[in-house]
Symmetry: C2
Subunit: 248 residues, 2 copies
Amino acid sequence: MPIKAFAFDAYGTLFDPGSVARAVDAAFPGHGDFITALWRQKQLEYTWLRSAMGRFADFETVTREALVHAALTVRPALDERIAEALCAAFDRLAPYGEAREALDLLAGRRLAILSNGSDAMLSALLRQAELEAYFPVVIGSTTVGAYKPHPEFYRALTAALDLPPEEIALVSGNGFDLAGAKHFGLRTVRIARLSPEALREATQDGSAIGPATVFSSLRSQMDDLSGGPDETCASLLDLAAIATGMEG
Amino acid sequence: MPIKAFAFDAYGTLFDPGSVARAVDAAFPGHGDFITALWRQKQLEYTWLRSAMGRFADFETVTREALVHAALTVRPALDERIAEALCAAFDRLAPYGEAREALDLLAGRRLAILSNGSDAMLSALLRQAELEAYFPVVIGSTTVGAYKPHPEFYRALTAALDLPPEEIALVSGNGFDLAGAKHFGLRTVRIARLSPEALREATQDGSAIGPATVFSSLRSQMDDLSGGPDETCASLLDLAAIATGMEG
């Protein structure tokens, strides 16, 4: 089936969750990489656990709970002002460097956002990066009441676009998201920013593996729970060529 | 309500998943801690993701998929014999040193196992450690078709014991398991082997944080998604006193 719309994941696909590292390091000097990795990892864990338990909480709450868990590994308590400042920083994540150019190359296509972010967080994120105009459809977790890879999440996308799943491609850098989308029946395009070879280069000296490399190992490779993605590329800039092929 | 039965989690509560580290280090010299941490972390992730997606696979498959993901971070392919040997080692995990004595101290009580392990894996695990006799009821994921913290998992326990949830205490070292059990309505006893103070001691030098400390940071502390546990202790040996209190 020819693809009629492209839906983008936000965190880890268009926006770099690692771009909070400088703010985190200012709040936790010497522990920037460590707390940044734990924070994002726990944030994801809590979305999966809440989806599995059937105990939804908004993404602001999940993000804050994850930060508290991360902070307590290095300090007895998390200062309220630091928590506020870091959660605000998460609403100002930097887009990946090539994001705007890649979106311009997709001009004329139907684009959407499908993200775990709350509707308010996604609205703030797109506004500060001046990327709202590219996405007439934005689906966050507020509307759905669940998190990826719960099937209801992907169903919300097909309902909003009024298209069958096989006519929509989900673009994501997150292996679990691609697995969930594929399981639901969407087509999938994986943004693979870290090649297996580059990751192995980073892990070669076992005694030098720090938190950032552990995090890359957990998050940057494919999670093959539903078979592989339909397409894979190393950069958002490759999407225009892939899109043309998928529409044909 | 007085507690009438105690159900034990297996991996991380009675049995030490870290006890495969020596076998892992023999297979991946210099990467023992790293691969052991990734393997267990991915194994858990895949249970959560599959529960959230509604795409069950048996725990043997999940364990093998997680090992493959971990191994590919350091090698281009996982040798089939190494995979077999390490999965077999996972069926021979060592019980924590105090497990048998702690179970003897609970003599006369109704005990059960409630674990993500497949029925076959749990049977092998309990047999090799000679702990079968303590547990007339063993509930694994084969029967349930889902993983913790999915509510169906805890429901299977209440059905097998024919008791209401508030008359059963779940004993677990895993924060996500305690959160799921509490959300379902069970009483909960947390085994907290690593105190927050000891963890902070281990993370103090940010530049020296390796895979084992990242793993402890993610897995050893409570996940407060449903409020805290009813009881907390540092060792299985404290259970007898706690049990007496909960039965009163």
